[in-house]
Subunit: 402 residues, 2 copies
Amino acid sequence: MDAGVVRRRNLSAVLELVHLRRGVTRADLTRALGLNRSTIGDLVAVLAEHGWVDERDDAPRSGVGRPSPRVVARDARLVAAINPELDVIDVALVSLGGAIVARRRVPLSEPPTVAATVEISARTVAELAAQHPESTVVAAGVAVPGLVRNEDGLVRLAPRLGWREEPLAAPLAAALGIPVAAANDAHLGSRAEQSFGAGQGARTMLYLNGGPSGIGGGLVVDGRPMDGAAGYAGELGHASVDPNGPLCACGAIGCLEALVPRAALASAVGLEHPDDDTLESALLTAIVAEDAGGPVHEEVARQLRWLAIALRGAVNLLNPERIVLGGHLAALWRAADRDQRASLLGQALPVNAADATVEVAALGGQRLLIGAAELAWDGLIADPLGAGESESARVDAVPVAP
Amino acid sequence: MDAGVVRRRNLSAVLELVHLRRGVTRADLTRALGLNRSTIGDLVAVLAEHGWVDERDDAPRSGVGRPSPRVVARDARLVAAINPELDVIDVALVSLGGAIVARRRVPLSEPPTVAATVEISARTVAELAAQHPESTVVAAGVAVPGLVRNEDGLVRLAPRLGWREEPLAAPLAAALGIPVAAANDAHLGSRAEQSFGAGQGARTMLYLNGGPSGIGGGLVVDGRPMDGAAGYAGELGHASVDPNGPLCACGAIGCLEALVPRAALASAVGLEHPDDDTLESALLTAIVAEDAGGPVHEEVARQLRWLAIALRGAVNLLNPERIVLGGHLAALWRAADRDQRASLLGQALPVNAADATVEVAALGGQRLLIGAAELAWDGLIADPLGAGESESARVDAVPVAP
DNA sequence: GTGATTTGTTGGTTCGCACAACGTATCATG
DNA sequence: CATGATACGTTGTGCGAACCAACAAATCAC
């Protein structure tokens, strides 16, 4: 019943630091974990023995004293990250440390069904894995543009793909033969930014992403991703900002995402379906070129006003230490002038706003894949020796009843 | 450096269960903690040795097998709970297990200053303690109607009392000679309901209280109270519900608490400053007596509509498993008919609302004192043998520079 | 009463971390 | 370039704390 709870925790903590910091010296580990040098040596040796890490003597010289070897992840194990979208299925292999070592974007002629997603993902993962014969793909994570039940990775609703109550993690686990976890794409964007991007180090964070299908988000509370009761937390896109506003697709009135649509911003600068970078640079160009008071300025100002109202509620409720904006909300922030930036949190209670800094998401087009990989790594980092009991949030590759 | 981290965690876990469940059998403890019978026996013995618990043979017979002794808190240690208000300072001594063993409400002729609060509290705690010579008062907690910085218990703003940037925990600790922690009253209401009231067992909870000075709240995330970066989380009262609404005292427009004031509900039933019970019974009486469409019905319906808008945002953001309403919001819920109750979460995304149940706060007029006691117990339960380092969220009774 | 069941108790075992002493590699200094 | 200071890795030992197995005790069912 025990199986070394303490040992598991410590091994996990070491491996997590190696993962998040992309390599640390043993001396760093002793300081960060407060364990004895000899204990750290032992823990690292165990992880090395089990194929997780290597030790190298390339540590940057830090001063007097005997140099400490750097502990780095061994790339013998990889995870697969999968992001099905309207016109593409994005697949990658990701190493411990969050580096994408292989990626393939499989174009689609029509929105994929779940069956097609499973089939294409499994094939593509196999192809990418074949290019890396020295490594094993040990788990997979899926970023879904929709609401996903965290318990079993079932897609409750993905309007963009036309999915509804579709099991996803289970069939994919069966097809791949490895554990698979699935979650909402904005949640995973949040996780990626928390681990390797603009959210690093924040103990309380609100991540908000403006995508083509709406505004999604993710929360970090006490340094850990916050999912809510069943996995649907973070949906600030459907907060009310105007009770006299337009009807939203969700059935409610005056939702944030109905009043701050990506499409309106894109069309203001004359684009149809721009990606994040294109939208942002077009917007910045237009803002400079256009006179103050012009239509682009107007649209930016309008969207920022509504965003400020929604953020007021979230900031007052959460008292976050960081707010990370992605997608077209990042573009908005970049396009905003000093006064507009200041007023974004200006409606929140002063004490609540005082603790919060606004940042722009840092990981660009790799964000969702890195986040999906984080999800996949979860169970492995939590129990590196794999001796523990099965993880509840993870669907194992047991044969699934049809 | 170590000092038995594991031991401390386990002792703390045992004591926490004894506290929350107000006594458990040793057999229960083994099941709840997954530790060996002999280990539990040892842990309980250590706690008994240090004066925390007693063992009794009065366990309700539960079936075959040797009966397990009940482990209960010994009342040798008490904490003080303090709640300064406009016209009264409410002081109590609370036992482990959350029972109020002594209470005194000291009436005031005018709103208290911090100095007066410290003086009156210290005197009253001493008087109550004198009535219980067999017990020691080991810590204190203060519930403040305002924003309190959790780091050091400094009151940033308590409009109702006219306090602004006033250190409170530190001078009170100096006066009482014991560690003192302070927090927002709604936070502590939330903690009380979580531990012993309508929030028991919920891993994700939103607590909302409608009081005379506005609408405050508290959050529980992952089974633990959520404070935010500096202690100001939970202020849903200042979420925007109507961008064309009235100006709130906070400076923003259309805040929930400006549109759902307790005073309006009270005056609808012809009362001036009713307490919670009076307001609720008057409201229920009026609802029955009045025709549908009458002014009381109207006010209830109006407030519920605004509340639903604010809850939409919070429920979509948090995906809570439970929502607990206190104060006049509890009265509103009691007065609501079936359709109104259903529509309270009706605007939230169906998946998010599906996980949430609405409950009415259970602890009545003892809530704030019990919550303040929970805060006081925190550090002690976390480290029953007192061997650990100082708790950062707690101000120790060291002399404070003036 | 007798057996089944559940739990407390006791002594021995194991796991895992700390600690101290020592070996080793670098930097600073003359 | 030798020496000391500093920081770190390595090794063997000790100990805290949990587990385990065997036994004793208290209840229920028949």
